[in-house]
């Protein structure tokens, strides 16, 4: 009776948009996380202050507010963004603020003794950071980054509220075309879950690869 195949196509289009948002948002979040996370442990007060303001602001206001702001208010002050740009910007900056704290935490959780070993070996600050601290911190960040990416994936659903045709949005469309609620929403729940599984599987295998040799098992 209903042309489910056509509607499935619509939902898959939505899945593409969701994936696109998640990927681009993650890249932006990653960049912001490292900038702000390292800013937080910087020697310079101004950098620390800037990073703190960014982090507290984006963690403090809700993602919805940020999204609506990017979509409706920024154009009024002359910053035109497509819905996709607005979505990526809000998601990336928001999740980036959370991930920045992960970066900071990981950098600080690399034992003080590693910093001291760097000084004793006369490595410069950046050399120590680059060759000793970050490689170790990265491994600590990874699992939480995985969680952040899943949070980002889930947060993409709110872009449907600014009429970006993502999974949730297409499910709404299908629903209003067919009058059926159960089928489209169940479908997208499964798709979201599958995407989340792919993310956590990817992060886990990355983690395994990076951890090789660190646990005393011969590689």
């Amino acid at each position: 009776m209903t042309q489910w195949s056509g509607y499935l196509g619509l939902i898959l289009q939505g899945a593409l948009v969701t994936i696109e948002l998640t990927l681009m948002g993650s890249v932006l979040a990653l960049i912001m996380a490292f900038l702000a996370g390292m800013g937080r442990v910087s020697r310079f007060f101004a950098l620390r202050w800037l990073a703190t303001v960014y982090i507290e602001f984006f963690r403090g206001t809700s993602i919805f507010v940020q999204l609506f702001f990017a979509y409706f208010v920024l154009p009024l002050i002359g910053l035109e963004l497509t819905p996709l740009q607005a979505g990526v910007l809000a998601l990336g900056l928001n999740v980036g603020a959370y991930a920045a704290e992960v970066v900071r935490g990981a950098i600080q959780s690399v034992g003080r003794e590693q910093y001291e070993a760097c000084i004793a070996l006369n490595l410069g600050r950046w050399q120590g950071m680059r060759h000793v601290i970050l490689p170790q911190a990265l491994l600590i960040m990874l699992p939480t980054f995985g969680n952040n990416a899943i949070e980002l994936l889930k947060a993409t659903s709110v872009v449907s509220l600014i009429s970006l045709a993502d999974l949730t949005f297409q499910a709404q469309v299908v629903r209003s075309q067919t009058g059926n609620t159960l089928v489209p929403f169940t479908t997208i729940l499964i798709i979201y879950f599958a995407l989340a599984l792919i993310i956590s599987w990817g992060v886990r295998s990355l983690e395994r690869r990076m951890a090789r040799g660190l646990d005393g098992v011969r590689v």
Partner: protein, 219 residues
Amino acid sequence: MDWDWNFVWEIMPTLIQGVKITILATLLGSVLAAIVGLGIALARRSPNKALSRTVGFLAEFIRGTPLLVQLYFIFYVLPDFGILLPPLVAGVIGLGLHYGTYTAEVYRAGIDNVPRGQWEAAKACNLSATQTWTNIIIPQAIPPMIPALANYFIAMFKETPLLSAITVLELMNQAKSVANTYYRYIEPITLVGAFFLVISLFSVVLLRWLEHRYGKIER
């Protein structure tokens, strides 16, 4: 477009109505999340494999899919199965279930972080299982959980705008309805952002205090 202070004062009472609902939803949602989380944590520790696996999978599923879609599901699909919930109740259940999967992890970590030596010392003191839980494990597990739980409390607070999708008249929905009436987005959305920022910053201070007070047990 210019900022209009008169308009701000005009819409303030409406927004404050919304803030009340937002806070109510957060409080009720937190209580539910605390209970649901405990249930999940206990079920996952259960020796009954079927129970722990099923609950484990469900929790993963809920955690891997967007709250927005879950809310649609609870609000629009459950009635087909004879479960008709008022919007606020549906919203609180959605929040409670979703965040319950997070608090479950907090409980698990809290319990796992009690050193194995404490279990062993309890055994060497010949305490029974119940005595060990009530006298040794729980008193040590709870304090470090408090900051983590408070963190999710704040996160939940910031996700309440999602309830607007199921017609709960919380802060975001009030703001949207104001915007719909007057065709002005800049003031309502900025105010919502300000409300969230102020309340979040306030809770961050509270959180730091909680961390300071309960964050670690001195051994």
